[in-house]
Amino acid sequence: MILEVKNLNVEFTTDDGIVHAVNNVSYKVERGKTLAIVGESGSGKSVSSLAVMGLVTGSNSKITGEVFFNGRELVGADPEEVRKLRGDEMAMIFQDPLSALHPYYTIGDQLAEAVQVHHNVKEAEARSRAAEMLTKVGIPSVEQRMDEYPHQLSGGMRQRVMIAMALINGPELLIADEPTTALDVTVQAQILDLLRELQKEFGTAIVLITHDLGVVADLADEVLVMYGGSAVEHAPVREIFYEPQMPYTWGLLASIPQISAKKAQLDPIPGSPPSLLNMPKGCVFAPRCTFKDQVPGDACANEFPDLLAVSKDHEARCHLTESQRTAIRTERKIGRV
């Protein structure tokens, strides 16, 4: 097991109160596998991953829980130890490669720097590794590109550079935070293909953050659905598409164009995500859930459902009974029924 996250909580103290950005999130990622974290904007996807990388450091933040990287506990570990892992054994790429690359340094300098932080090698050696890696991610005329600045490259090329920089030291874990969101549709597919190939070649475990279930279907082995800072469903990718168990996941599935065109039975989720400042005491999704009336008593409004096993490897958080879920899914043609 490369990464094991257990009951991760991240809080931020702000002027308005405490923001509960991540609540009790747990997941595991194995070597060479991909876990997709999906959810709307503000559901805590980025913060939970940054916390894993040790990049949530503000004095207003508080992290509790456990993060095991190769069996090593990172929460509460010496920051210097975690720093040495970053960029070497675990790496991260971000949504907008233009702002994520330094505008004042050349591509070659930025990649060589990534090598030299972790390896005691000469500049020339670092640069030749950089060139090699850039070739591998499909950058044409590498020698020339090395001396160019990020603003001289196209969006897709920049993201390739980011990927090269992240993978240059052969990390075991890559966290990709919406790596294709800022790119054109055709370029998106190329970047995803590239990630898949490189994963195969290096056996990298990937945590892929996205709000696009199309990307999930493409790349993921396992899916963690997050809502309002909590994990609301966690299952192998097939099950998420074929046997989704949680009304929020149903809503997400409905928002994929191809699927909703065929069976337009469920509207994309109306309403907006919850404020992480004052969490409702019931189900986080209750204010937007159209099925809460089917749960007896006011359970949805009063009690946050546990993340319970639906089947082996599949957990969901919802008060609806299994037969109710099956009935709803049959009626609305959600998943494979």
């Binding site: 990049l55 892992l85 970053r86 702002s99 050349t106 600045y149 603003h151 001289q152």
Partner: protein, 329 residues
């Protein structure tokens, strides 16, 4: 980079031309007869008329402008016949009030202002930028709050107040320094430093306060940029992240400000020069204004403006050296 500089130099030349025209028109917009100002108490209409011709003031404006510009580049001869006199290159005019060539007056005053501005500049950049960095690194902690508090006070104190305060206490009350009496650093370095110390501090207090705040806000802003997060994700230490990735990016607006502030001071730090009796450009300009010495006023305005334009060019070049996005577009 080279085409960029060439372009900037052309822009600068253009601006200088426009500027010289404006300054010249300013000279002529004053609602007095310049010729009237050229003679003292024993003035007769004949002398005024003679002087008008001698100075070329009877010519149309564009001829006068051409003469003036010509004077700057190749010198100029006033009058004709036996009553001529030479004004050597660069001729900025002749001050009848002082019976001196304006250029001589400027050349005497310029070094004083130069030393004043440069000394203060070095002092405030060192203090301001370091304080700003310390504050940013300790954002929200006591160091930050102290520096911000002190700089707020420094920033809100007027220059004349700080200057007078220093003069009254350090010189008059405590006798720590002699009365300011400007000497060239080449003639008497000790006297020079004794005179310049307080003016430097006076100016530096105001500007250091401003630069501390500017540096702090710049650093805090850049530390929040995505590429800083990337730098950390690469495993770089906080020190490298700060020095190599954040500082350079935060530097650009500081360079801009610094160039313009320095240029502003080079045109004459009037109040400071007055308080500490420094015979610099600022005092020359104010003296010229009170005495209605038009050629001198025009020249000081021109010199100050040239400083601003040239420093703009320097800033543009530095900008391009720091930020490749500027030089490569």
């Amino acid at each position: 980079m080279f085409p960029y500089i060439v372009r900037r130099v052309f822009v600068m030349a253009f601006m200088l031309t426009i500027l010289s025209i404006i300054t010249f028109l300013l000279f002529n917009a004053v609602p007095t007869d310049p010729a009237m100002l050229t003679c003292g108490k024993t003035c007769t209409p004949d002398i005024v008329a003679a002087n008008r011709i001698r100075l070329g003031l009877d010519q149309p404006l564009y001829v006068q402008y051409a003469e003036w510009i010509k004077g700057i580049f190749v010198g100029r001869t006033y009058g004709s016949g036996s009553a001529t006199f030479e004004c050597s290159t660069p001729c900025l005019g002749y001050s009848f009030r002082n019976g001196e060539e304006v250029t001589t007056m400027i050349v005497d005053a310029l070094p004083v202002t130069l030393y004043l501005a440069l000394g203060a500049f070095i002092l405030w950049m060192l203090i301001g930028i370091s304080a700003g960095i310390v504050a940013a690194k300790n954002h929200g902690k006591w160091q930050d709050r102290t520096i911000m508090g002190v700089s707020l006070i420094g920033y809100s104190l007027p220059v004349f107040f700080v200057g007078l305060l220093l003069l009254v206490f350090v010189v008059v009350r405590w006798n720590l320094l002699p009365y300011p009496d400007y000497e060239s650093p080449f003639d008497d370095p000790v006297a020079f430093f004794q005179t310049m110390l307080l003016p430097w501090i006076t100016l530096a207090i105001l500007y250091a306060a401003y630069y501390a705040r500017l540096t702090r806000s710049q650093m805090l802003e850049t530390m929040g940029e995505d590429y800083i997060r990337t730098a950390r994700a690469k495993g770089l230490s906080e020190r490298v992240v700060f020095r190599k990735h954040a500082f350079r990016a935060g530097l650009t607006p500081i360079v801009t400000s610094a160039g313009l502030d320095l240029a502003g001071l080079l045109g004459g730090a009037v109040i400071t020069e007055y308080i500490f009796s420094l015979p610099g450009l600022g005092r020359l300009a104010i003296g010229a204004v009170t005495e209605y010495d038009l050629p001198t006023i025009t020249a000081t305005v021109l010199v100050a403006a040239v400083f601003v334009i040239v420093s703009n060019l320097v800033v543009d070049i530095l900008y391009a050296a720091i930020d490749p996005r500027v030089r490569l577009t």
